[in-house]
């Protein structure tokens, strides 16, 4: 025992000068950055927004039918199909990414996002049931049912996977997988029982913007703006949640109230996004992680950057989905999953020592 301690102590003294040297080297570069604003850089935000705007213009111009700038405002394809579709993909991308970032802090787990936890699937089941019941006629009917089902999913996950005030990674992920399987079984069942409405149900499970119209944009956008606003407003407290519930509480965060508020609003956003676009996988996982690589872990930067980068990512994926094999289309979810699933496996591999 004592021997072991001596080895550790020796290791410590060997390591320390190197660490000090590293710190000294860093000091030169980082002395200025230590006392800078922890919020997102307005210039970076503006550049990302410009890039997004340019991409939206570009995306509107390409597709199965080409037209020139001059005839844009007279084209029904542009006004009734492409423009709402592009707007919808931007909004959904922002929503899924912000929710992914928020979930990762709330559940204190880098492997969570609305898709992995099964919340998106839950919402899709709710939406499918709403269609079968004929609730499409009401403006908030499908979204409302999607929300109820998604909230039930979150509640189940929270109850099953929380042990004390910690979320157990393995239980959390397995719960998500099981719920996803259960829900897709239920949706298959509904599809077989109601073959005449199958086309519209299949769409929830695959994820697509093909049928996005102005009414979807009108319903989802206000929910997205409100929800993202709430997450941004609590970004610093999200950081503190990462330090653990008890530590967050002792540093002045009303932990339970904060978690309830954020889970409600993020789930609300996911439910409405899913009710408009179906289940698009892994966006909430890919985007925040990519942002953290560049911008660091602070949610005051991660959340706003994820919002813009997520919008851009889903927009590009959807544009590729409708252009790669034109005139036929790929499901946009297959493109995001092709990027997301390998990343998920990489994160599992990287974190495997912590289980």
């Amino acid at each position: 025992m004592a021997h072991g301690h001596r080895i550790l102590a020796a290791g410590g003294t060997i390591l320390r000068p190197a660490a000090a040297l590293g710190a000294a080297v860093k000091t030169k570069n980082q002395a200025r950055t230590l006392r800078q604003s922890s919020h997102a850089n307005p210039l970076t935000l503006a550049l990302l927004a410009l890039l997004l705007l340019a991409a939206m213009c570009g995306s509107c111009m390409v597709g199965a039918v080409d037209f020139s700038w001059g005839e844009v405002w007279h084209s029904a394809i542009f006004l009734q199909l492409r423009l709402p579709r592009v707007l919808m993909s931007v909004v959904v991308g922002a929503v899924l990414s912000v929710c992914g970032a928020a979930y990762q802090s709330i559940f204190r787990n880098p492997l969570t996002d609305p898709y992995v936890l099964g919340v998106s699937s839950g919402a899709s089941l709710g939406a499918a049931v709403a269609i079968l019941l004929g609730l499409e006629a009401y403006l908030w009917g499908v979204g409302g049912m999607a929300l109820a089902a998604a909230l039930a999913t979150v509640w189940l996950i929270y109850r099953i996977a929380s042990i004390g005030n910690r979320m157990h990674t393995t239980t959390l992920l397995l719960t998500g997988v099981c719920l996803t399987l259960l829900i897709s079984a239920a949706i298959s069942f509904l599809m077989v029982m109601n073959q005449e409405k199958m086309d519209s149900i299949i769409f929830w499970t695959m994820g697509s913007f093909a049928s996005a119209g102005w009414s979807d944009v009108a319903v989802v956008t206000p929910v997205a703006v409100a929800g993202i606003g709430v997450v941004l407003y609590h970004a610093r407290e999200l950081n503190l949640l990462l330090a653990g519930s008890e530590a967050a509480r002792s540093m002045g965060v009303e932990v339970e109230r904060l978690k309830r508020t954020l889970l409600l609003f993020t789930t609300l956003m996911v439910a409405f996004a899913v009710s408009a676009s179906g289940v698009i996988g892994f966006v909430g996982l890919i985007v925040p992680h990519a942002v953290r690589l560049v911008a660091g872990p602070d949610n005051r930067r991660v959340v706003p950057y994820s919002m813009l980068c997520g919008a851009l990512f889903v927009l590009v994926c959807d544009t590729l989905a409708r252009c790669l094999l034109r005139p036929s289309e790929l499901p946009v979810g297959s493109l995001t999953s092709m990027v997301g699933a390998p990343l998920f496996i990489y994160l599992l591999y990287k974190n495997k020592r912590s289980y």
């Binding site: 102590a9 410590g12 660490a19 000090a20 590293g22 710190a23 860093k26 000091t27 980082q30 230590l34 006392r35 604003s37 922890s38 919020h39 204190r108 407003y233 609590h234 610093r236 407290e237 950081n239 503190l240 990462l242 330090a243 653990g244 008890e246 530590a247 509480r249 002792s250 540093m251 002045g252 965060v253 009303e254 932990v255 953290r292 660091g296 872990p297 602070d298 912590s354």
Partner: protein
């Protein structure tokens, strides 16, 4: 001043604390001691409002801890956990800066004052050179000192510390205890080293099986008989030092 009024606490059917009733005056360093599993952490969590006692109440400066909002509580008492969370990616500077949360408004950026306090607290605990290090890159002792710095950055009149020196080398243990004494704050600290308590703590709370056996001056509390009764270890006093008879 902390007043503990007939505190009871239990996990399931197991009673952890039984009728703890005492008053801790301001400005004193109190050692909270006792064998493993005697309820030290539970009592400390009750004092910090992190756990509600099943009966009784905790008053800090005449306010019931159970009714204080988290933010007001965090301006009065800082809590250092026994095990720090390490699985996140903030630098030590950012970790200590989190201690300023109870004074910040939402969406507001940290002020020059916050940064100055953080720098000061990190220098006091000897962790300023670690300011760019991530928790995963630090040793247990370094992390513990960063957590102490975070608690100091909360600039509270009360510090509640659960074994804050358990991973520190002897030099840092002494340095930390001296620092805590010099602050003039009310400190409640869980310790296992009787001599450290004897040397640096004004008062002693001695727990056994969830009951308060002694509360008073450390020198009076740590008698040979009581050490035998609480820990079952034979010892004798040599001047101001406890020597164990192995």
């Amino acid at each position: 001043m902390i007043v503990l009024e007939h505190i009871h606490a239990s996990f399931g059917r197991r009673a952890v604390l039984e009728d703890i009733d005492c008053t801790l005056p301001s400005g004193r360093v109190t050692a909270l001691m006792g064998p493993n599993g005697c309820g030290k952490t539970t009592l400390l969590r009750c004092m910090g409002g992190l756990l509600l006692p099943s009966a009784g109440r905790v008053l800090i400066d005449d306010d019931d801890v159970a009714t204080l909002p988290a933010r007001a509580m965090a301006q009065r008492a800082a809590y250092v956990r026994q095990h720090a969370v390490t699985d996140f990616d903030f630098s030590a500077f950012e970790v200590v800066l989190m201690g300023r949360n109870p004074y910040q408004r939402r969406l507001q950026n940290e002020s020059e004052g916050d940064w100055a306090i953080v720098e000061d607290c990190m220098k006091q605990t000897g962790t300023w050179h670690l300011r760019f290090a991530r928790p995963a890159e630090m040793s247990g002792g370094e992390l513990q000192r960063v957590m102490i710095a975070r608690a100091l950055a909360q600039t509270t009149p009360l510090l509640l510390m659960d074994e804050p020196v358990s991973n520190l080398d002897i030099a840092h243990q002494i340095e930390t205890m001296r620092l805590l004494r010099s602050l003039g704050k009310t400190v409640v600290i869980v310790l296992h080293d009787l001599n450290l308590a004897l040397r640096y703590c004004d008062d002693l709370m001695l727990l056994k099986d969830g009951k308060l056996l002694f509360h008073g001056e450390t020198g009076e509390g740590l008698t040979t008989e009581r050490i035998m009764a609480v820990y079952g270890v034979a010892s004798h006093r040599e001047e101001n030092h406890i020597v164990y008879d192995y």
